[in-house]
């Protein structure tokens, strides 16, 4: 089908975009990469009366560091995040996660901001943002605010953004030296939505003890989930095969899985367990030299 007609604006600055959002509110939709929005418009499931195209706001495209934080503009294309030498060197989990998004052609247009605002609980960028303790910066008519993932992701496809808010930036703190990481995803075919996606970070100390663990799971709840009780099992502990299995089992119990055509709720839950286990093994081997 062809999309319904709409009024089209192409602001050249954040101020202009926010003013348009403020004026049109609920009737307007931002278009960035369009890889999620335009399919819905072509199906006529989404019929925004007003489309605000932010692709002209080049000032929102950047990848840099501020201090030791990674700072990425909302309009940055997924492929640029994936291939950025800075990201690959210092936040490789993010690059790996992004490489799972659809296919390269989609990543050429899709943006990091768009993926976050779309808030699909199976999506790689939301899941990895939770693992990395990243934050989003949002501009609204009354100024700017920073939101942590738990304040930002509310439920399926829903964030705490007001109709006149524009997501402008993603900020990710530095990772300590001895960090093991993993990002793995299960899907029927390459490029499909994740059945489960798991991002893991392990911070260790010299003695081979895990100081802190972060386990972020996508596709298992209305938003990405940090398996906090599983993380607590690992914190301060000497890692063993047995402990990894316990943590994986615990993580699976922190899911709220639902069935669909691709996987039953039980299968998803069990795959969460399997992928947390594999991810923990991978992250631990990375930082521990395969012991």
């Amino acid at each position: 089908m062809k999309p319904c007609a709409f009024e089209y604006f192409s602001p050249q600055s954040v101020t202009e975009a926010v003013a348009l959002l403020d004026r049109y509110g609920d009737d307007a939709k931002i278009i960035a990469g369009g890889q999620s929005l335009v399919p819905m418009m072509n199906f006529r499931l989404a019929r925004p009366e007003i489309l605000i195209d932010i692709n002209g706001i080049r000032e929102l495209e950047y990848i840099k560091t501020e201090g030791d934080e990674l700072v990425i503009g909302a309009l940055t294309r997924e492929r640029d995040v994936e291939q950025s030498p800075l990201v690959i060197e210092k936040w490789p989990l993010l690059s790996k996660a992004v490489s799972y998004i659809g296919h390269s052609t989609i990543r050429n247009r899709g943006t990091i901001g768009g993926s976050l605002v779309h808030a699909d609980p199976s999506a790689e960028i939301p899941t990895s943002l939770c693992a990395l303790n990243g934050k989003v910066k949002v501009m609204g008519p009354s100024g700017e605010k920073e939101l942590a993932p738990e304040e930002f992701f509310l439920t399926y496809l829903t964030t705490s953004l007001e109709p006149s808010d524009l997501l402008v930036e993603v900020r990710i703190p530095a990772l300590p030296q001895k960090t093991g990481w993993s990002f793995r995803e299960l899907s029927r075919r390459s490029g499909d939505f994740a059945i489960v996606a798991v991002g893991i970070l392990l911070f260790t100390e010299k003695t081979g003890v895990c100081r802190e663990a972060r386990i972020s799971m996508g596709g298992v709840a209305p938003t990405p989930v940090r398996a906090e009780r599983a993380e607590a099992l690992l914190a301060g502990q000497k890692i063993s095969e047995k402990l990894i299995e316990q943590a994986a089992q615990q993580a699976a119990e922190e899911t709220e899985t639902e069935p669909d055509y691709h996987a039953s709720a039980e299968y998803r839950r069990d795959m969460a367990r399997v992928f947390v286990k594999r991810g923990l093994q991978e992250a631990w081997n990375m930082v521990n030299g395969g012991q």
């Binding site: 089908m1 062809k2 999309p3 319904c4 007609a5 709409f6 009024e7 089209y8 192409s10 278009i31 369009g34 890889q35 335009v38 399919p39 072509n42 199906f43 489309l51 195209d53 692709n55 492929r79 659809g102 296919h103 390269s104 052609t105 989609i106 050429n108 247009r109 075919r189 390459s190 490029g191």
Partner: protein, 159 residues
């Protein structure tokens, strides 16, 4: 209902100026307004890849863009692959290695492979498989597509 917008695009080296409704998809603009029907529409929601074109050097799904978003852009469609004298090595390889049967997905395969080989002139078969998996084909079973891309890569490295 909404006013038409003027857009200027360069397609396959030729400059065009047209007036379009904002909701006109880029793929429909190319096919209907510019009569470049080499780009195909398979699904209209971004999963089949047969609408793939190059926009400012990057492969994009033209069914997921509006023509107004391409204002000022430099676009290459499948019609732009061959020069006046001969087929592009990719096209020659697809013919040689039977990388097409009905030909519906072929423009998408060619444009996707074009970008891929530009960035990975010496890919492994696994890399070709991975990168081409974004374009759906109902005819070939994909093997001949992979063979064609590998052959094209070989030919292009010779030059």
């Amino acid at each position: 209902m909404t006013d038409n917008r003027r857009i200027m695009v360069k397609v396959n080296g030729v400059d065009y100026e047209r007036w379009v409704e904002p909701r006109r998809l880029l793929v429909d603009f190319l096919r209907d307004d510019l009569e470049l029907i080499g780009t195909h529409i398979g699904c209209e929601h971004g999963i089949c890849g047969s609408c793939t074109v190059l926009l400012n050097g990057r492969a994009v799904r033209s069914c997921l863009m509006f023509a107004v978003q391409a204002d000022g852009a430099d676009i290459m469609t499948v019609e732009g692959l061959a020069d006046s004298k001969q087929l592009h090595p990719l096209q020659a390889a697809f013919r040689e290695k039977h990388g097409l049967q009905c030909g519906f997905c072929t423009p998408g395969m060619l444009m996707t492979a074009y970008e891929f080989l530009n960035e990975h002139p010496d890919p492994s078969e696994a890399e070709v498989r991975k990168n081409m998996s974004g374009v759906l084909c109902r005819c070939t079973g994909y093997k001949q597509v992979v063979d064609s891309v590998m052959e094209a890569a070989r030919q292009m490295r010779k030059k």
